[in-house]
Structures are given as structure tokens and as C-alpha cells.
């Protein structure tokens, strides 16, 4: 039975992966755009775009042959090691992908080093206290806080503080090792926070196990106790660490863009924005391969660490105990945000006043003005309604998706794996390539990947309710399946899952802001937080407050996301705990009462 299950799950994964690769292969057809004109321009500037010339280009690209021929051609090219030619530059795709991959791999390696250092720092206090036998309760909040900082925000702040103001480090380009430091920090710190938090959450349960007391009592050195505790905690976390590496690919897009690093992420973003689909196909394929390789490495490392004990699930880690957060903290954060948004909403975000460009804060403009003389506070307030409004819609969509899939858990398994492993930014890049950058595209992308944790929660609740004896009693009464579903199972599941969806709202808003920042979401002149940050960072030297205001607002939002996720509503009879789910920005584990 178990083998059958594993086989079916493996098949579902393979099918989902094939579907993603096929989607990538079909991008030119799916987008429904006619690339003939842009290809023609790219090939020769002089040629007139006559109907015959355009038709010739279309024939050349094979776009008229239909989707299957296109997919076949693309797959055939892949087998021969060809990725086609760029629609924009007409250059071979493979060399640009290869050079981008090299840069990105270097950057990722450097940020992994940073991540390991940060993770060690995050879980060091717990290790020390554990070795002394004074570790109580859940993990600290430091790791969770660091993990919640989106890369694009950290990158911008690092650029402003260390690069521009302090002038200590180069802020753009890729000429030498000194160019590696800031991007590696921006990518490594959140990843390290996430890794550190995973270990930090697992340690209290490990140190509660009897053997640690026995070891300490019999005089084993603290260092050896710590080493043994780590050896106990780490193997179970290795798969998640693999997903952290996958998450780095999403971070790479934002960070490479901010620091003008010519890596794979920036190439993919540029390709998506200019609808250069062959180049985008190549980049996404490379990113997918990278993710698969990371997952494979994680599996190998895990097998090596666990050895034979892996078979039959003999070794399990005690359930992690995430730190508790008081309701007061998120309430205070929300109050500050609401105050700023409320005052901003009363002002006009669109009036351009060229006489007052980049003004300092004053009574008339409490947070100053932006490059077009628009009031920053007003743009912040109105931007919140855009971002939060869209985030609400996204949460509602993922709630409905989660309920639907929660009732059919098998159908969603492979999809959930893919959605889990796809960073929001990569999803945003793909959707933007299809629909063009827009608020709708960004929300679609975030909705597509934000349902799996909700669906897992819904599936667990459905299973629990269906197995309960009151549902058994209902069947014995003679209630039909529809009666039981609509009057008992659905109401029992919908409430907790809806609460869970609301708790994820700030995380979703952050993901949307990240896409806005990269130009994949809301378009100017609409006030959106990510877009605000992107627009103002160019003028940071002249109007620092205008740049810092959205940065601080986003940081508050991140803090709200992480503290809300740490909240645990009181449990009534039994609690369903949701395993920490991978994926940046929306990965906080949430425990919700059934």
C-alpha cells in the first residue's frame, strides 16, 4: 500500500513537472502575441514591416504550425542542446543562459555562506541554553523576523545605507569579489533567517528528550551534547533546506535587478518584460533544473545523514514548537500601519507639482514629495488600499481553491509540490510573460502559488471531521453525502481555513509588492508600495525620506506577517498543525484550532 502511494505521489509530481515544462515550451503560443514585428525589428532595422515580410517571419518561427508542432520543435531543440534565438536581439539563447547561470550560481554560493553564518547566529542562543539545560518554550523570534524581510526590501536598504550613504561598497555591476558582498547579504540574510528559525524551532523538542538529561548528568561535555542535538535535528530539516535554495532563485531576480548583476534572474526578468519568450524559456528551464538539482542534493544529504534509519520512517523528529507571540505586537503594528494609511487616504496621490519635486518633509507634505512632486504620504495611503485590496482578493481566491482541493487531496498533490517550490517572483515572471505586466497578472501569479498551505490545512481538517464519530452518527441516521458535506463538513472546515487565509494576508501583500517593485505588477502612476519603493530608490540621495517611507511601511508589513503567523488561536479539542511550508514571503507556519 505504502509503495503504491509513493508511486502515485511520484507520478503526480512527474506529471506536474511535465506540465510546467510544457507550459514553458508553449509560452509563445499561450501568450497569443504576434512577435513577428519585434523579431523583424531585431533582425534588420531597415526592412519595412510589410505583410509579406511579417508572414515570412511567422513561418520562420513556426508559430502558425500550432501548439504541438511548436512544443515538438522546442523539445527537439532541447535534445540537441539548442534553446533557439532571442526574439529581441537575434542572438543565440544558450550562451546568455550559460553566462547568467554562472553568475547566479556564484552569487547563490556566496549567499549560502551568508545564510549559514546568519542561521548559526540565530540558533546559537538556543544551543547554548540547551547545553546548559535551561532551554524552555519555543524558538526565538529573531529568525522569523529575518526570514520575513523580503529580499527586494533588504537589497534596497543595503544599497541605500552601505552603498550610497557610506559609499563603502560598489552598488552595481559584476567586476570583482567586492561586487559580490551586498547582493550576497541581501539574498543570504532572509534565507539564513529561515534556516535558523527551522533549527531554532526544532531544538527545544530535541533538548526535551531524555537522553540530553542523561548525557549532561553523566558529564558529557556541552560541546558534544550540542553536536549530538544538531545531528538529531538537522537531517529532518534537510528537505526544507533544499527548498530554501529553491527560494533563492526567486530572491535572485529581485537582488540581481537592484544591484545590476548580470545573472539568470535579471535576464529572466528582462526577457519577461520585453516578451522575449525564447530567452525566458531558457532562463526558466535553467532555474527549474537548478531547483531540481537542489532537491536532489537535499535528498542525497538526507540519506547520508539518516542512513538505514530512513527506511520505514523509523526516525521522526519531535514536532517543532514555534515561539509564541502575544496578540499585542501585531495589534500595535497594525495600528501604526492603519494610522499612516488613514491619514494618507485623505490626501491626493496623483496631483503632480513640478515646483515641489523631491521636497523635504514639511507641514504640507509630512513625508515629503516624490520625483514628480506628488505627496508621499498620500501615495503610501492609497497604495495600501491597492495592495491590500488585491491581496484580499488573492486570499479569497486561494481560500476557494484550498477548499476545493482540500476535499480532493490526491488531485492536488503534484500541483501543490510545484506551487510550493515556485517562488512568487518566478511565478510572477512567467505570468507577466503571458499576460504582460499588470496588477491582474501579479495577483494571478500570487494566487496560483499561495493556496498549498491552505489546501493542506483544509485537507487535514476534512480528514479529521470525516473520521469523527459525529459524521459516522450522521450516516447512521440516514443523512446523505450532500447533507453531511454542506451542513457539517464544510462549515467545520471553512471557518478555520478562512482565519488561516486572513493571517496570510500580509505575506500575500508583500509578495504582490515584490512583483510591483520588479515592474511585474501594478503600473505607474498607480500608487503601489513595491512600485513606490522602486520609483523612489533612484532619488534616494536627494529625498531619503521618500525612499525610506515605503521601506519602513513594507518592513512593518513584514513584521505584521510574521507576528500574525506566530499567533495561535486557542484550541478547543484538537489542534491541526500545519507543517512549515517552503516558499519565500508566505511561508510562515500557522497553527489553527480545528
Amino acid at each position: 500500500m505504502r509503495n503504491n502511494k509513493a508511486l502515485r505521489a511520484g507520478l503526480a509530481r512527474l506529471a506536474a513537472l511535465t506540465a510546467v515544462v510544457a507550459t514553458v515550451g508553449l509560452l509563445p503560443w499561450l501568450s497569443g502575441k504576434d512577435p513577428a514585428l519585434s523579431v523583424l525589428r531585431a533582425r534588420s532595422a531597415e526592412q519595412e514591416p510589410t505583410a509579406e515580410a511579417l508572414a515570412a517571419v511567422r513561418r520562420d518561427l513556426g508559430l502558425e504550425a500550432g501548439p504541438f508542432a511548436l512544443l515538438g520543435d522546442w523539445a527537439g531543440g532541447l535534445l540537441r542542446g539548442e534553446l533557439g534565438t532571442s526574439w529581441v536581439s537575434g542572438a543565440e539563447v544558450l550562451p546568455s543562459v550559460r553566462s547568467g547561470l554562472g553568475v547566479s550560481l556564484t552569487l547563490m554560493a556566496a549567499s549560502l555562506v551568508v545564510a549559514l553564518l546568519v542561521a548559526s547566529a540565530v540558533c546559537a542562543p538556543a544551543l547554548v541554553r540547551g547545553a546548559r539545560g535551561t532551554l524552555r518554550g519555543g524558538g526565538g523570534a529573531a529568525g522569523a523576523m529575518l526570514a520575513a524581510v523580503p529580499e527586494f526590501l533588504l537589497a534596497t536598504v543595503l544599497l541605500i545605507v552601505l552603498g550610497v550613504w557610506a559609499g563603502a561598497l560598489p552598488v552595481s555591476g559584476w567586476q570583482g569579489p567586492e561586487h559580490l558582498l551586498l547582493p550576497a547579504l541581501a539574498m543570504g540574510v532572509p534565507a539564513g533567517g529561515l534556516l535558523g528559525r527551522l533549527v531554532d524551532d526544532a531544538l527545544p523538542a530535541v533538548f526535551r528528550e531524555r537522553w540530553t538529561d542523561v548525557w549532561r548528568a553523566s558529564g558529557v561535555s556541552r560541546l558534544r551534547v550540542v553536536a549530538a542535538a544538531l545531528r538529531r535535528a538537522l537531517p529532518a530539516l534537510v528537505p526544507q533546506a533544499g527548498l530554501v535554495v529553491v527560494g533563492l532563485t526567486g530572491g535572485a531576480v529581485a537582488v540581481e535587478t537592484v544591484f545590476a548583476v548580470p545573472g539568470l534572474g535579471r535576464t529572466a526578468l528582462g526577457a519577461a518584460k520585453s516578451q522575449d519568450l525564447p530567452l525566458l524559456q531558457g532562463c526558466v528551464l535553467a532555474l527549474l533544473l537548478l531547483a531540481l538539482a537542489a532537491g536532489g542534493c537535499a535528498a542525497l544529504v538526507r540519506r547520508r545523514l539518516f542512513g538505514a534509519a530512513l527506511k520505514g520512517g523509523a526516525l521522526t523528529l519531535p514536532a517543532p514548537q514555534p515561539g509564541r507571540v502575544r496578540a499585542r505586537v501585531p495589534a500595535a503594528l497594525a495600528a501604526v500601519l492603519l494610522l499612516v494609511i488613514g491619514t494618507g487616504l485623505l490626501r491626493d496621490p496623483y496631483t503632480v507639482d513640478t515646483a515641489l519635486r523631491l521636497a523635504d518633509p514639511s507641514a504640507a507634505h509630512p513625508l515629503g514629495t516624490d520625483a514628480l512632486g506628488r505627496d508621499v504620504l498620500a501615495r503610501l495611503g492609497h497604495g495600501a488600499t491597492t495592495t491590500v485590496g488585491v491581496a484580499l482578493a488573492v486570499c479569497a481566491v486561494s481560500f476557494v481553491l484550498a477548499l476545493a482541493i482540500g476535499f480532493l487531496p490526491n488531485a492536488g498533490a503534484g500541483l501543490a509540490d510545484i506551487a510550493n517550490a515556485l517562488p512568487p517572483v518566478i511565478a510572477g515572471v512567467l505570468v507577466a510573460a503571458l499576460t504582460g505586466p499588470s496588477t491582474f497578472g501579479a495577483s494571478l501569479a500570487v494566487a496560483l502559488i499561495s493556496w498549498p498551505p491552505l489546501a493542506a490545512h483544509a485537507a487535514a481538517l476534512v480528514q479529521e471531521v470525516r473520521a469523527s464519530s459525529h459524521v459516522m452518527a450522521l450516516r447512521a441516521i440516514g443523512a446523505g453525502p450532500a447533507w453531511i458535506l454542506m451542513r457539517h463538513v464544510l462549515p467545520a472546515v471553512a471557518g478555520p481555513v478562512a482565519r488561516h487565509a486572513v493571517l496570510r494576508l500580509p505575506g500575500v501583500a508583500l509578495a504582490l509588492a515584490a512583483l510591483g517593485f520588479l515592474g511585474l505588477g501594478a503600473q505607474p502612476p498607480s500608487p503601489e508600495w513595491g512600485l513606490l519603493l522602486d520609483e523612489s530608490r533612484l532619488y534616494v540621495e536627494r529625498a531619503p525620506v521618500a525612499a525610506l517611507a515605503p521601506a519602513v511601511a513594507l518592513a512593518l508589513l513584514a513584521a505584521l506577517a510574521v507576528t500574525l503567523a506566530g499567533l495561535r488561536p486557542r484550541t478547543r479539542r484538537s489542534a491541526v498543525s500545519i507543517a512549515p511550508t517552503p516558499g519565500r514571503l508566505v511561508e510562515q507556519p500557522v497553527e489553527v484550532a480545528s
Binding site: S469, H470, M472, A476, I477, G478, G480, H488, R573
Partner: protein
């Protein structure tokens, strides 16, 4: 006379494991047949199969008042369900935690499209010794004993002839246990109900059952006899061991 419940060669499998092994027994009107055995012997699986909640293997027969139940599905089975109702072990788990108990008690009536007003709820609650004022309470606001009474009231709502009682008092505090047991015996006398009473509590069975069937691990019935006869002179070695007559194997 046709027995109320007539089970013949009941065979239940979970995957390739046999949990109930060709079991046969009868329950008459007004009679309590106790099914005893160690936990995991297959008693609850028998109950679920009798209730038509798990499907028995082909060749099994469960007849209710002469009507064959195995093989019936969907609407036709649901139409017969009012006549045999369960009471489960977990008093809290067997009630919807979000519904007031008054609504839970009358839900069977609504399912079958019968009148289900507050008066009927009060009548049922009084029948099981619950204060009708509790109708608006949620299960977690009541004691385990009160919840179990609500569960019994729900089982009685459709005027059944047979109750399948799966460890009905073993999750209750000893202080309220006898109250619920006396309620069940009183109801049986007043309404002439047949009980299939599943328990591992030998003293309780001795007290309430007219006849006892002993189930050995693996789901075989080793002995069925009138209660006093079984407790006075068990014949099967397993029954002797269960009753503490023979020393358990080393």
C-alpha cells in the same frame, strides 16, 4: 418468530486482514445481546457492519426484521436506517461541536423530512433525563454524561427498534455511568428496544445483558450463551481466560 436482528456469517476485512470472521448471532425485541472481548478483537467493526457503515464481504448476511441489508445502497438503505440507530463511545466526539444539542437531537427528523419542532426536542430530552432548557447549549458546555444522553436522544428521535451501543458508558466518569446504564435499561423496558451492547466491562455486561457473545482476537465468536450460564460455567477456553477462570498463558 423472526428475530429483530439476524446476522449470519458476517465477514469484514480491512485490506487483506480479517477483522470479523464469519460471525452469526441474533437479537430479539426487548433483548440485550452483549458482545464482549479484548480491545481490537473486532467488536466495533461488527457494530459498524451491522449499521451498514462499513461494507461486509460477499456471503455475509445482516437481516433486520427479515429484511436483508447487505447489498443495499444509497436511498434504499437510508430509508431503512431509522429503525436501527447507534450510540457511540465518545460522548463529545459523536455530537457536532458547533451545533446546539437541541438541533443535533432533532437532526434525524429533519434529515427524513419529519416535523422537528422545539416541542419534539423537549420531549426527547425529557425521555433521556435531560433538562429541555439545555437545548441551546453546545456540547462543550455539557458534561460527558449529559452529552451521552443527548446522543441517546438523537438515536431515539426516529423511533428505532434496535440500538447498537458501542461502549456507551466506558468513556464516562464512574459517578455518572450507572445513571446512563439505568437510563438504557429503563428505555428498553418502556419501548421494547433490542440492544446490541458492545463492551469490554464484564461486570457491566453481567448486570445488563440477557445473552452474551464472546469474541476472540481475529474476530471469531467462540461462545454465545445466556448471561448467568456463561458467567457460571464458561465452556470455551478463551472465555475462561477472559473471565479469569483459567490462568493466562505464560
Amino acid at each position: 418468530m423472526t428475530p429483530l436482528l439476524d446476522v449470519t456469517d458476517l465477514l469484514v476485512r480491512h485490506g487483506d486482514r480479517t477483522v470479523v470472521d464469519r460471525v452469526s448471532f441474533q437479537v430479539d425485541e426487548g433483548e440485550t445481546l452483549a458482545l464482549i472481548g479484548e480491545s481490537g478483537a473486532g467488536k466495533s467493526s461488527t457494530a459498524l457492519a451491522v449499521l451498514g457503515l462499513v461494507g461486509p464481504e460477499p456471503g455475509s448476511s445482516v437481516r433486520f426484521a427479515g429484511q436483508e441489508l447487505t447489498g443495499l445502497k444509497g436511498r434504499r438503505l437510508r430509508a431503512l436506517r431509522p429503525r436501527f440507530q447507534p450510540v457511540f463511545q465518545d460522548p463529545y466526539g459523536s455530537l457536532d461541536p458547533r451545533a446546539p444539542i437541541g438541533r443535533t437531537i432533532t437532526e434525524p427528523l429533519r434529515v427524513h423530512g419529519r416535523p422537528a419542532g422545539a416541542a419534539r426536542a423537549a420531549e426527547l430530552m425529557e425521555l433521556v433525563g435531560l433538562d429541555p432548557a439545555y437545548a441551546d447549549r453546545l456540547p462543550h458546555e455539557l458534561s460527558g454524561g449529559q452529552c451521552q444522553r443527548a446522543g441517546i436522544a438523537r438515536a431515539l428521535a426516529l423511533d428505532p427498534r434496535l440500538l447498537v451501543l458501542d461502549e456507551p458508558v466506558s468513556a464516562l466518569d464512574p459517578s455518572v455511568r450507572s445513571g446512563v446504564v439505568n437510563l438504557l435499561t429503563g428505555l428498553q423496558k418502556r419501548l421494547g428496544l433490542g440492544y446490541l451492547f458492545i463492551s469490554h466491562d464484564l461486570d457491566l455486561v453481567h448486570h445488563v445483558a440477557h445473552r452474551v457473545a464472546v469474541m476472540a482476537p481475529g474476530g471469531r465468536l467462540v461462545e454465545t450463551a445466556p448471561t448467568h450460564e456463561l458467567f457460571a460455567s464458561p465452556r470455551d477456553p478463551y472465555t475462561k481466560q477472559l473471565l479469569g477462570w483459567a490462568p493466562s498463558r505464560p
